[in-house]
Amino acid sequence: MNNDPKKDAVLEEIGEALNAYESNSVDLINRAFQEGGPQAVKAVEAEYTALQHAYYDLLNRQLVTNSATYPNLMDQTIDATNQIKNSISGLEKVANVFKAMKQTVDLVGRVLVLFGV
């Protein structure tokens, strides 16, 4: 990964916070319920969701960064495909030229027969 150390450190910290929440979610939610009822539970859950968003946002940014490192890869791959296809057409043309010449010769032959040459 073309890593930005700061971004990596933040990703690791958020990951650790999420891991800590997940390992203790039962206790945290029970305590929140005892102290503030359903609203407090929802608030804790919302915090957890926000942390997850932050984590996935960083993963997605890294995906975008990686794509940007190879901006022309798709175009280059399409270009290579087209070049190979053109080569195939070029090689096919050789036989096609002789086939066209044969048709012309056949036509000339028929004309000569027609006129009794």
Partner: protein, 301 residues
Amino acid sequence: MSQTIKRSISALLIAGLLILSGCDEGAVRKLGAKIGSRGQDVGTAAAKVIAELDEFEQVDYEQRLRVGILVRPPAMGTEDLPIVDHNKLEQDQITQREKLYKQLAKAYAALQTLSETAFADQSAAAVTELNNSINNIKAVPNIPVGVSSALSGLTGLIVDRKQAKDIRKYSLTLANLIKAHRALWESDRQIWDNYLARIRSAYIDQLNKTEADRFDLQQLRKIVTYPYADSYLINTYKAQEAARLDSRITEIKEHLDAVDEAFSQLEKAHKELTEEKPSYDDIVSSLDRIVTILGELKTNS
């Protein structure tokens, strides 16, 4: 007499040249076709692994929703569900990658067609037919048999050489391309590892702490396949769930590794083919290795 000897020597030289050049170019064509075929396998496998990662998002969502319900205190009631969002990887990026690897497979399909098609035979046959047509015109003198066959032979030779030259040329193009594809694949790897680790933690860490009163032992007995007493069922179920998820994650990681290794072998094969004196054995060995790696991938999934 001396004319006849000269003609015979010329004919022998042409035949020898055709045989000699035919060997080398034939080998290049065979290898080009093999590389084309293996390259398609690699591109298709890469696109498939990306699709697997994408599909895993739904598994993650369902697991988090389930465990989110379980960790809530019973006194909260079951009327409203916890808010659980889809933790999606950016769809544009996923789609872009799937398309990219599918396009790579198309490039290799073209290389296979370029290598497999007997353009020289097609051209030689067209020249022979042209000669026959000329010979059929009574007003025109027949082309001597020797000249006629030399013409079609030489045409075939020229086309053969051009074809081999093109296969080598595009092998070099694809070699550079595959290097970039592999670099992207390796750059993305840490993201996939983090993504998979996150999915595991979000479900298994929470499930492991879920209290015993959330489980129905009678129902659990139907799911847990081990012959343990009721008091062990809950923990055994949790272990079974962790093993199930770990097995799937390991499988996806093996697929990611397999594609990486296949990219590397493909790169090696290309590099060897572009050498002045390529070792055909090394190329074939790299390509056979791809068959083994990706074959294992197919067997495991």
